[in-house]
């Protein structure tokens, strides 16, 4: 497995955050955002190329899950939003 470049990593990070925003569910959306940011922060110190590659491919599969599930969640989104999404 080739070590991903810096641009590739940043692009994955952005894609994950973008797919997080697609979730209509307040809690899932906030969690996906938080989990993405925390994972990248946690893996910031990785130096071994193979573990960087492993974390990158894990992130890629998470992105696939997020993309599929944000569609599923959108299909069955309740008409009434969470109280946290209702602007006072």
């Amino acid at each position: 497995m080739a070590t991903p470049s810096r641009t590739e990593i940043i692009s994955l990070f952005r894609s994950l955050l973008r797919s997080a925003r697609q979730f209509p569910d307040y809690n899932i959306r906030e969690y996906t955002k938080r989990r993405t940011i925390d994972s990248f922060r946690h893996n910031k110190t990785l130096s071994d190329p193979s573990s960087i590659a492993a974390a990158f491919s894990d992130g890629q599969s998470q992105l696939q899950v997020a993309r599929r599930q944000s569609v599923v969640y959108s299909l069955y989104a309740p008409k009434i939003k969470s109280i946290m999404d209702v602007k006072p």
Binding site: F23, Y26, N27, I28, E30, Y31, T32, R34, R35, D38, Q62, V65, A66, R68, Q69, V72, Y73, P78, K79, I80, K81, S82, I83, M84, D85, V86
Partner: protein
């Protein structure tokens, strides 16, 4: 308007020859169509006479947890195209389902440090508890006639024990200390020659205290008694090791770990072997312990949830503890007379059971319509009786009536906690303002000394 749409649709779908002169349908039909849409208004929800502007924030993780999208992602293929019966041995559909079930079995087993051969899939923790308590005692009924359990167990264990009592078995219900933990010496002295099972839950569903599992396991090992634990609330939240705890049987549930409802798993030790009488007879699936087709999608979901829990346990723990502190500090900082029920040290952070003095619990719950919380377990939340768990702790009747359980989980946010604090504090202040008791306490009258007239 709606009647016009219906009429035009009808007109389009029916040939004009069959229905030459269609007139707009009566308004009665339109009214029915409008009623069938329950969430018609965009302004808010009106349900059971309560009107709220949005879906309430969810703080009832002990009742059930939302399904994690990663779990749902693992399940969906088995709802769509991989629908085979895992017990079909003659075609690909069966083989792929069987493979998925076995993979899930391994995922569940590795979370509790067991062997996959020791896992039996069931419909949930209630079924596991029934198999464990009744199944073990029925199997060894010739020699063993006595069961030890605690007063704070879940209803399904207590009811199974009651059932055994009706059949002539003896049951000892251990009392708990005011912090909700059992007294190990009391357990030791309750053990008899014919004791066939000790059943103590790991994490309490109502108050979240963690029983000293390793110590209880030691005692059971010493007397060579099978030890059963209901770990539905513990799975994925605290580290579980069946060998450290020395359990013979353990009940697990899928929907408390962000998995699907309707699936659970029973751990049954192989060495030394524990045997049970099946509660469900039939095709002999799950080694004859639980007949009935194994629900592949649900089992796959539970497996995925367990694997996820293993990866995320530490991360979730830090988050949940942080939110619990935020919630408790927020409430304590603005209100007096707030008591946390159960031990403060030995507890799971995601379960915060608080009593608010001088407030009537049901009125508080009614007022907190924008926060989905409960006064105790969901199974008994319909009754106005105070929780039997809190009474077993020796909590005063008035405090037991005012308890609220805040359940915090993986998907709870800081903003939700802040909102919950604000709403709770406002509601409690409002109710206390109306309460004559609170006024009397403010004036320095000890309400315990008041002689209430009997009626």
């Amino acid at each position: 308007m709606a009647s016009k749409i219906i009429a035009s649709t009808l007109r389009r779908s029916l040939s004009p020859k069959l229905l030459p002169h269609i007139r707009p349908l009566s308004t009665a039909t339109a009214a029915v169509a409008a009623v069938a849409e329950p969430y018609d208004e965009t302004a808010g929800i009106s349900m059971k006479g309560v009107k709220i502007s949005g879906r309430p924030l969810y703080l009832d993780m002990q009742a059930t947890s939302p399904v994690d999208p990663r779990v749902l992602d693992a399940m969906l293929p088995y709802f769509v195209s991989r629908y085979g019966n895992p017990h079909s041995r003659t075609h690909l559909y069966g083989w792929e389902s069987d493979e998925a079930v076995e993979a899930a079995r391994a995922q569940v087993a590795s979370l509790i440090n067991a062997s996959p051969k020791e896992i039996v899939f069931t419909s949930g923790a209630t079924e596991c508890n029934n198999i464990s308590v009744k199944g073990v005692m029925h199997f060894y009924k010739e020699k063993k006639r006595h069961v030890i359990t605690t007063q704070t167990e879940h209803k399904c264990v207590l009811d199974s024990c009651r059932h055994l009592q009706q059949e002539g078995f003896d049951v000892t219900y251990l009392t708990v200390k005011p912090d909700g933990l059992i007294d190990l010496n009391e357990l030791r002295s309750a053990i008899r020659k014919d004791t066939g099972l000790v059943s103590v839950m790991a994490v309490n569903n109502e108050i979240g205290v963690i029983q000293p599992m390793e110590e209880i396991g030691e005692i059971c090992k010493e007397f060579n008694i099978p030890f059963h634990t209901d770990a539905a609330q513990a799975l994925g939240k605290i580290p579980i090791d069946v060998n450290k705890w020395n359990v013979s049987l353990m009940s697990l549930s899928g929907h408390k770990v962000y998995g699907p409802k309707g699936v659970g798993a029973l751990y049954m030790r192989r060495r030394p072997r524990i045997r049970v009488e099946p509660q469900m007879n039939g095709g002999g699936q799950e080694r004859g312990i639980r007949s009935g087709t194994v629900p592949t999608p649900l089992v796959v979901g539970m497996g995925a949830a367990c694997e996820l829990a293993m990866k995320e346990m530490e991360y979730d723990e830090i988050w949940v503890t942080k939110l619990k502190d935020r919630l408790l500090d927020g409430i304590r900082g603005r209100l007096d007379g707030v008591v946390v029920n159960g031990s403060t040290e030995r507890r799971y952070a995601g379960n915060l059971n608080i009593s608010f003095a001088y407030v009537e619990g049901e009125s508080l719950l009614m007022g907190l319509k924008e926060v989905a919380v409960s006064s105790g377990s969901a199974c008994t939340s319909a009754s106005l009786e105070p929780s039997y768990v809190l009474r077993a702790l020796g909590v005063d009747e008035d405090m037991a009536h005012t308890s609220i359980r805040f359940g915090i989980g993986r998907f709870t946010t800081e903003e939700e906690i802040d909102k919950a604090v604000e709403l709770t504090v406002n509601q409690v202040e409002k109710l206390r303002e109306m309460s004559p008791l609170y006024e009397m306490v403010k004036e320095g009258i000890d309400i315990k000394s008041i002689q209430w007239s009997q009626h």
